[in-house]
Symmetry: C2
Subunit: 228 residues, 2 copies
């Protein structure tokens, strides 16, 4: 039986790794796309490679893009990553770790590759729960991107539309971890920290570490991450 192809965006964090495991579980043949985007922490890209290998993915590409060339984010610039943010405050503001148009650019590349592959399914691990308040993680953004994608492309215009899958969008971090656990995903391979040490240890205090620690605690299983 020939399987359906899907392009899966993978950063190397919990969410995208779980999304990849879900796409495989749904029966898709995954084409994994990772980005080197001038992150301050390339340990994220290495995590993506480990996850790709452990899940037996055959086709993957790592695209070099230079978001750092126009700056504007603590994740690509020499701006301090905020630590120990109060959760109530955090929910109300878009933090400095927001990278302008990041998911738009990532999904645009995924769309280009998907069209070449004739893969009509694209997976992205965004979640609008337990997240960092980024506008490009919300369902209304994803719907707008999908509509745009089907007007932008030869395949879309000719009646073979693309679907953007966001299997995590309504899940909490602990629900995501439970799901991945059920699919035997090894979270020791993933990386979450926005501001790791030079040897790759997680800081334990950025938004991303806080969400991860809280998620594992809620599920009641040990977080395999090595913290400073």
């Amino acid at each position: 039986m020939s399987q359906k192809k899907a392009v899966v965006l993978l950063s190397g964090g919990i969410d995208s790794a779980t999304t990849l495991a879900i796409a495989i579980d749904m029966g898709f043949t995954p084409y994994v796309m990772t980005f080197r985007y001038g992150q301050r922490h390339l340990v994220e890209v290495e995590a993506a490679e480990k996850v790709t290998k452990s899940l037996g993915v055959k086709d993957s590409i790592c695209v070099d893009i230079d978001l750092g060339s126009f700056g504007g984010s603590a994740l690509t610039d020499a701006i301090d990553v905020p630590k120990d943010r109060n959760e109530d405050v955090a929910a109300d503001e878009i933090p400095i770790t927001y990278v302008p148009a990041r998911n738009t650019i990532f999904l645009s590349y995924a769309l280009g590759w998907a069209e070449v592959l004739k893969a009509y399914d694209i997976f992205i691990g965004v979640t609008a729960v337990d997240y960092s308040g980024y506008p490009d993680c919300r369902p209304e953004f994803i719907e707008a991107f999908q509509s745009m994608a089907n007007l932008a492309t030869k395949e879309g215009v000719e009646g073979r539309p693309f679907t953007i899958h966001t299997p995590l969008i309504t899940l909490t971090k602990s629900e995501i971890i439970s799901k991945g656990n059920a699919l035997n995903l090894d979270y020791a391979l993933t990386h979450s920290c926005y501001d790791p040490s030079e040897t790759g240890l997680a800081c334990g205090h950025c938004d991303s570490c806080i969400h991860r620690i809280k998620g594992f605690a809620e599920v009641g299983i040990p977080d395999p991450t090595k913290y400073i």
Copy 2:
């Protein structure tokens, strides 16, 4: 008086060069964004640099992106560029020179830079008349991109929306050339050919050359292009 900033996408062809001249004429301070996207003809990027310089643009960036890494187009792959296509046939099909998701990727980068600059105006020289039938040159695509952009970004979500300007979208090639001429744009600096010779001479037979030659003939002014 402080001028409004605008990000202007410039390829080095007639359309984008005219768009840049129009943005300047409208009083915007242009931030010019050009791409090296694995084109077979880097002469296009050189043309963009010449146009940028001749119009006195102060801020410009050239972003390296590797659309060639996933292929699928005669403009980025080792596929022959079609020559002397019949115009009636040409109008009905999307040609092999179509680059998957190209304008989506270009506009996504422009959006990212615009958000960093706090420039709420983005210019792109697409035209839905005398064009090559690309889906991502149509007004419905541009409208969908703008809606998506204002859901994707911090600025958009916080009530400072972006506008995608397409000043050429209803103009024929000859109207575009007339407009640029009126703005003293030097078309000798621009480049159109999809398949130039190694020394940068235009082929005269691809869709892009055909539109250019026809446009200049209709305006009744000499085409400064050097053809093979």
